[in-house]
């Protein structure tokens, strides 16, 4: 696209020659990188599904398998730290297949000069999070790089879990009529990290929502038929909905007024010109649930800590396949599309 255009036009219209931060945003640039570079190189039936985890049949059991790297700055933020995040992130990627998470690995890339007491605090936090989530960290690796070659500490966790019989959850299983249930407020994690990193002086502290979600998922599975699940991390709720709409070939309609956003998160987003729909969460999920089961699933969610603010925010429709439509507060509508990049604060 646009290549012949580039010859006549001084503006860059073709792809980038180097990796830029946007390639890690979870939006369109990330998707392009996966589609154009990684997928052709590693192509296989499991990877092609582009779910957050692969579900593999091994000796009669169905195993969910996933990996995730954590590079957050700062290492400690209100409501959590990189260690807690590294456990919850992988536990949640497993949980989104309906799996019961069992074992994790942890790999640490440390920058020369990282204070040992910080590493000890992070390790203790990881151990506590793993214990609370009922997973064991059973193998690992450590590497140290020269000062300047990494930003203090990067952690990669890999996890496996067991998918119970009869559970078939995948983005591609969502269908028209499904109710879209969100497990709670959005934007907390992204704005907690952003406001700490940028030293924004806000009236109240925003805390990350980082939390393991597998217990919530198990409660939901017991209550009714779940078709699709995603935890809206990078790229936020809008990105997860776009991915599910695309994967299942359905339309999605959600209502701005039904989406819970905490007051300080909303205020910070207003000040910075950012949209909470595109801000990261680390302890939330969005579910596509068979209409007959929606009330029971919602009630089961609200009975848990992680799902106490759950709400039905919209539904899947047969119209406009692949497209997510937001009904705005004043009764208008707009289409939500995959973001190109990370959101940037606006001038005015």
């Amino acid at each position: 696209m646009g290549k012949e255009f580039a010859l006549a036009c001084p503006l860059p219209v073709t792809g980038r020659k180097t990796i830029v931060l946007g390639h890690g945003s979870g939006g369109r640039l990330t998707a392009q990188l996966v589609r154009d570079l990684f997928l052709p190189a590693f192509d296989n039936e499991f990877l092609r599904k582009l779910d957050d985890q692969a579900v593999l049949k091994l000796g009669g059991a169905r195993i969910a398998f996933t990996t995730d790297s954590f590079v957050v700055t700062p290492l400690f933020f209100p409501g959590g730290d990189i260690g807690k995040l590294a456990v919850h992130g992988t536990v949640n990627d497993l949980a989104m297949s309906g799996a019961r998470p069992l074992y994790l690995s942890a790999a640490f890339i440390m920058e020369e000069g990282l204070p040992l007491d910080e590493l000890a605090r992070i390790t203790a936090s990881m151990a506590e999070a793993a214990k609370a989530a009922g997973v064991a960290i059973v193998t690992g690796d450590t590497k140290v790089v020269n000062k300047g070659s990494a930003d203090k500490l990067f952690i990669t966790t890999t996890g496996i879990g067991l998918v119970p019989d009869g559970v078939a959850i995948s983005a591609s299983n969502a269908r028209p009529g499904d109710q879209v249930i969100l497990s709670g407020t959005i934007g907390d994690h992204g704005m907690a990290v952003f406001s700490r990193r940028e030293n924004l002086e806000l009236e109240s502290t925003i805390e990350s929502d980082t939390a393991p979600l597998h217990a919530l998922v198990q409660a939901m599975l017991a209550a009714g038929e779940i078709h699709a699940l995603r935890d809206p991390t990078r790229g936020g709720l809008a990105t997860s909905l776009c991915e599910i709409a695309g994967s299942a070939g359905i339309g999605v309609e959600i209502h701005a007024r039904r989406i819970p956003v905490r007051q300080p998160v909303r205020a910070a987003c207003e000040i910075l010109g950012m949209d909470p729909l595109f801000v990261a969460n680390e302890g939330k999920l969005v579910a596509f649930v068979a209409p007959a089961a929606a009330d029971a699933v919602l009630a089961a969610m609200r009975a848990t800590t992680e799902g106490r603010d759950a709400a039905i925010v919209g539904e899947a429709v047969g119209a406009h396949p692949g497209m997510v439509l937001l009904k705005t507060e004043i009764g208008g509508s707009r289409i939500l599309d995959l973001p190109f990049n990370e959101q940037l604060p606006r001038i005015c």
Partner: protein, 367 residues
């Protein structure tokens, strides 16, 4: 949330829409001047709720969009210099110059930083006395007071390593340029609320009178915009053409007198080139001669950097309200926020990017 929820209320909006429907008897074309207003209109789907008689066209009030390619290239030339700490508001980082954007320069080792106020740059300049700290001062009258204050304080604090790359533009001359154009079709303006919070609205009175166009200084929330549209429609229907103030909770006729004084001490009016439009006489600010030592263009000697705009893009016509984003064959195909061909696609405030980000490249063309 106070001061927000009541301006996003569906019942109030519906009542205003009904009143607009009752008021208009024939087609009218209104221009909202500000990028922030365009953003709200598209974000809330407000234009789709209006009666068919009211057409909104989108104005030139997006500072990122109207900053000339040449100025962006000059910024990039400075940001590439070894040792320089180049500071900018966030959305300027993504704007492509002739070769890449500030993100690219950052990826290649340039020290490019996002700041939230030009005053943050003074802290940086104090912390790194051996390095030049440059702030890319882009924007309308709204951002001018803080930029002027940064220079003023830099001099008071004796900071010799801080400078401004100034690309300030002014709203009233742009409105005059649009009205002077033979192909103009704008019949009333929703004036720029935040610009007027600083400058007041007295400058708009001669424009309303001379060109016989209603001007309603308008805020940025859906209810503000609908109220502004209603006030403008009433003037049009009644054959009046005066300046009215919808945004009374922020704007007075005099504006912010202290802020205007600060601007006047540091900046003077000059001719400026607008991306997509061209040079408009007396349409911008530059540093006064007594502040020349804070002028990054002079310090880094980048005035010889020149660039030409691409011919394919219709952004000039979009910025003047002659065309809408989806009138362009490249919109959403060759031209996207990732591969922008021109001004109005580069910033979230730009009409083309606002349309794109709200998915309108996928929807059947709306009015």
């Amino acid at each position: 949330m106070k001061y927000l929820d009541e301006y996003r209320d569906e019942r109030v909006s519906t009542a205003l829409l009904d009143e607009i429907r009752r008021t208009v008897t024939r087609p009218w074309t209104l221009m909202e001047v500000c990028g922030g207003q365009t953003h709200s209109i598209v974000r809330y789907g407000l234009d789709q709720l209006l009666p068919a008689e009211v057409e909104l066209v989108h104005g030139p009030g997006c500072p990122v969009c109207v900053t000339p390619l040449e100025m962006i290239d000059r910024a990039h030339a400075i940001a590439r210099r070894a040792g320089v700490i180049f500071c900018s508001f966030g959305d300027m980082l993504r704007v492509p110059g002739s070769q890449g954007d500030l993100f690219q320069i950052k990826a290649e080792g340039g020290d490019v930083r996002i700041v939230y106020s030009p005053l943050d740059c003074l802290k940086l300049a104090r912390a790194h006395p051996e390095r030049p700290v440059v702030f890319f001062a882009v924007g309308f009258e709204t951002t001018a007071p803080a930029n002027a204050m940064a220079v003023w304080q830099a001099r008071a604090q004796g900071l010799a390593n801080f400078s401004l790359l100034v690309s300030h533009v002014l709203v009233p001359p742009a409105i005059a340029a649009i009205l002077e154009s033979p192909s103009n079709r704008v019949q009333a303006f929703l004036g720029p609320g935040h610009v007027c919070a600083v400058m007041g609205w007295s400058e708009y009175e001669p424009l309303a009178e001379r060109y016989r166009v209603p001007m309603v200084i308008t805020g940025f929330e859906p209810v503000d915009l609908l109220e502004g549209i209603l006030m403008a429609a009433r003037q049009l229907e009644q054959g009046r053409a005066t300046v009215e103030n919808q945004y009374a909770r922020a704007v007075t006729r005099e504006g912010n007198v202290e802020a205007r004084k600060t601007i006047g001490r540091v900046f003077e009016v000059c001719d400026r080139a607008w991306r997509g439009i061209g040079v408009i006489p007396r349409s911008g600010y530059r540093l006064r001669p007594e502040f020349a030592e804070y002028d990054a263009e002079r310090i880094f000697d980048v005035r010889s950097v020149h660039a030409a705009e691409p011919a394919v893009c219709i952004s000039g016509q979009v910025l003047q309200g002659h065309k809408k984003p989806h009138d362009c064959p490249a919109f959403g195909t060759q031209c996207t926020p990732q591969t922008p061909l021109g001004a109005t696609m580069v910033s979230a405030e730009g009409a083309c990017a606002a349309y794109y980000n709200c998915g309108r490249h996928m929807a059947p063309a709306s009015r």
